[in-house]
């Protein structure tokens, strides 16, 4: 049974199948059709809001006013895009990029050593358990819970509406999550490869640099992208800490562009399209890591 199955999968595309197998194949195809149709529907449901926003940004005013709404723009215009650039969206993009990138890097710089120590240094089990458990709990804390005290503290210190404040806060708010996921990634690499390096005469730091880092680099890269996306999307803290164009990140800028009543949807659609673009790239780079990373990271045992 298992053998025939293996042969089947190995040969479906190239070699013609024996008759009875072909019959079996046909029966399976019905099921396959069903699965694929539902998946296409799911993909439609997932993507349609994004498509709608993207085309709304290039619809002409006449298309926008058309009832029922058009699925394909008949007269594409770039007016909305011109407007959004006139409203200095690039400054917001720049702010978001700077804040998200720096916060990601600093976050990795402090969480990689912590995750390394927690998985590789043979610290007392109880200590590691407490630290890691704590981080897991903190990762669940809603950002809005810390927002008020941090805002009051920030006001006292006079550091509201500064980019570096956002960078510091984003760094720390992601640290617990980063340590938790990195720990899973590290546990994924067998410890004895590093031990072999130590035995071969390498220093601890050398073993990390020459053996561990190259091995976990793909995961590390994925985690960096994930953190970047978190920061790129961050909204609640920014809501409290952004006061002016100097610090305004993209999510806040988008909120400011949402019209309450009139038909001016093209502009905010263009802004939304800009904000979603990195997400699309990230989704395709990250899917493999997320499935594995979640298995090992979120759900890994001790």
């Amino acid at each position: 049974m298992a053998q025939t199955e293996a042969r089947q999968t190995a040969t479906t595309d190239t070699v013609p199948l024996p008759v009875e197998m072909a019959v079996q194949e046909r029966r399976f195809n019905l099921r396959k059709l069903l699965v694929v149709v539902v998946l296409y529907l799911a993909a439609f449901w997932t993507l349609v809001p994004m498509y709608w926003v993207a085309i709304s940004s290039i619809k002409s005013l006449r298309d926008l006013a058309h009832i029922p709404p058009r699925f394909f723009p008949t007269d594409p215009r770039l007016d909305a895009w011109v407007t959004i650039f006139e409203r200095r969206i690039l400054e917001n993009v720049y702010n978001s990029l700077v804040v998200a990138t720096l916060a990601t890097i600093i976050c990795l710089v402090i969480s990689v050593p912590a995750a390394y120590a927690a998985t590789r240094m043979r610290l007392p089990f109880k200590f590691v358990a407490i630290v890691v458990g704590l981080m897991g709990l903190v990762a669940l804390l809603p950002p809005i819970a810390s927002a008020i005290p941090l805002f009051l503290l920030g006001s006292d210190l006079g550091i509201i509406d500064e980019k570096y404040t956002l960078i510091i806060l984003y760094t720390v708010l992601n640290t617990a999550f980063a340590v938790w996921v990195l720990r899973g990634t590290f546990m994924d690499v067998p410890m004895d490869v590093e031990e072999a390096a130590l035995m071969d005469g390498d220093t601890r730091f050398g073993a990390v640099r020459r053996i561990l880092l190259p091995l976990i680099f793909p995961s590390l890269f994925s985690i960096a992208i994930l953190l970047f996306i978190f920061n790129w999307n961050e909204y609640i803290i920014a809501l409290y800490f952004v006061n002016s164009m100097k610090t305004m990140t993209l999510p806040i800028a988008i909120q400011a562009q949402i019209p309450q009543h009139e038909l001016d949807w093209g502009v905010v659609s263009a802004a939304g399209t800009i904000a979603v673009f990195p997400v699309l790239v990230a989704a395709f780079t990250l899917q493999r890591f997320l499935v594995r990373g979640l298995t090992f990271g979120v759900a890994s045992g001790q």
Binding site: W52, A114, A117, K126, A129, M135, L137, L140, N233, L239
Partner: protein
């Protein structure tokens, strides 16, 4: 493993035998002394300290500060539990709390159902190019809350939106979704399911990947139907992941704020205020941060309960395997 004392090497048999073979030296004393007694351990602690320090300053300090805020008025006077007792009489807060819970009750099962269904489909042998399906299906997870809300606001728009198109095709009156309390609730639930169900999908798909294939072969040999195998093999296997997904989806749905900010702004009236929006509104718009902190406490309590279950599942459930 405990060391049995019955079997011991005979004197003279070991190379240089200790005389006190039957006495066992005591285990090392205490975690803290061990933690700082070795060079290596001290380095390890030093590597952990920066992130711990960051957590303490930016996550724990605010929680402690919160308590102080709750116990004082906006003018900084000590008022004891007045903020909390005021909260229990605050009908707006009641509304927000109920809205959050109501939303959780609708959104969490929906997300899990959609997530499980999609996970099973993508995991099945019939879905080719799994990587592409996964990439597409997880996109909403990475879209900013505010952008997701904005997208759906357009989707719900009476004239621009796509949602009313099928209704019109059926000859129904177009619904102006976001202006009436009950339709706004439904509309928000749909946005949340769109946004959060990918999380359930991802976790459950990862869980399904952990189920060893050979148990299905064993079940098939034992005469189990597909359906039986699903009940008896798959579900028990992904149960821990299912619990994790439930908790995370719940936590995510309670912290929603951007979706509301982009769509209803809490309206009509205060019909779509949830806990997060209440806290934001009280602290930032009405400038009553001390009073809002009392609501934060309620939210923390909810997260704490969810978190305890989360940790217990990760640490107890999985280690017993």
């Amino acid at each position: 493993m405990t060391v049995q004392q019955t079997v011991s090497p005979l004197p003279g048999q070991g190379a240089t035998s200790a005389n006190s073979v039957n006495t066992q030296p005591p285990p090392p004393q205490g975690m803290w002394s061990e933690l700082f007694s070795f060079r290596d351990n001290r380095l390890g602690v030093m590597l952990i300290v920066p992130s711990l320090l960051a957590l303490i300053l930016v996550q724990f300090y605010p929680i402690v500060y919160n308590f102080w805020l709750i116990l004082t008025s906006e003018k900084g006077e000590w008022i004891g539990l007045a903020n909390l007792s005021r909260l229990t009489r605050d009908t707006i807060f009641h509304g927000a709390l109920i809205f959050s819970l109501k939303m959780g009750i609708v959104v969490v099962p929906m997300c899990l159902l959609v997530g499980l269904g999609l996970a099973l489909l993508v995991h099945s042998d019939y879905a080719g190019r799994k990587a592409i399906w996964i990439s597409i299906l997880i996109i909403p997870l990475m879209v900013s809350e505010i952008v997701a809300g904005m997208m759906w606001k357009i989707m719900y728009h009476p004239t621009l939106g796509l949602v009313n198109v099928p209704l019109a095709a059926l000859g129904l009156e177009p619904i102006i979704w976001l202006v009436k309390a009950d339709t706004a609730f439904i509309a928000l639930c749909v946005v949340e399911v769109w946004r959060i169900s990918p999380l359930a999908f991802l976790l459950l798909y990862a869980g399904l990947n952990q189920v060893p294939r050979d148990i299905y072969e064993a079940a098939a040999v034992d005469g189990a139907t597909r359906w039986r195998a699903f009940w008896d093999m798959t579900l028990p296997y992904i149960r821990p992941m299912f619990a994790i997904a439930t908790i995370l989806v719940f936590v995510w749905s309670t912290r929603t704020i951007g979706t509301i900010a982009a769509t209803t702004q809490g309206g009509p009236g205060r019909a779509t205020w949830n806990l997060s929006w209440y806290i934001y509104g009280m602290s930032f718009q009405r400038l009553k941060p001390h009073y809002a902190s009392a609501a934060v406490l309620v939210m923390l309590l909810m997260t704490y309960i969810a978190g305890t279950i989360f940790v217990r599942y990760l640490w107890v459930e999985r280690r017993s395997r």
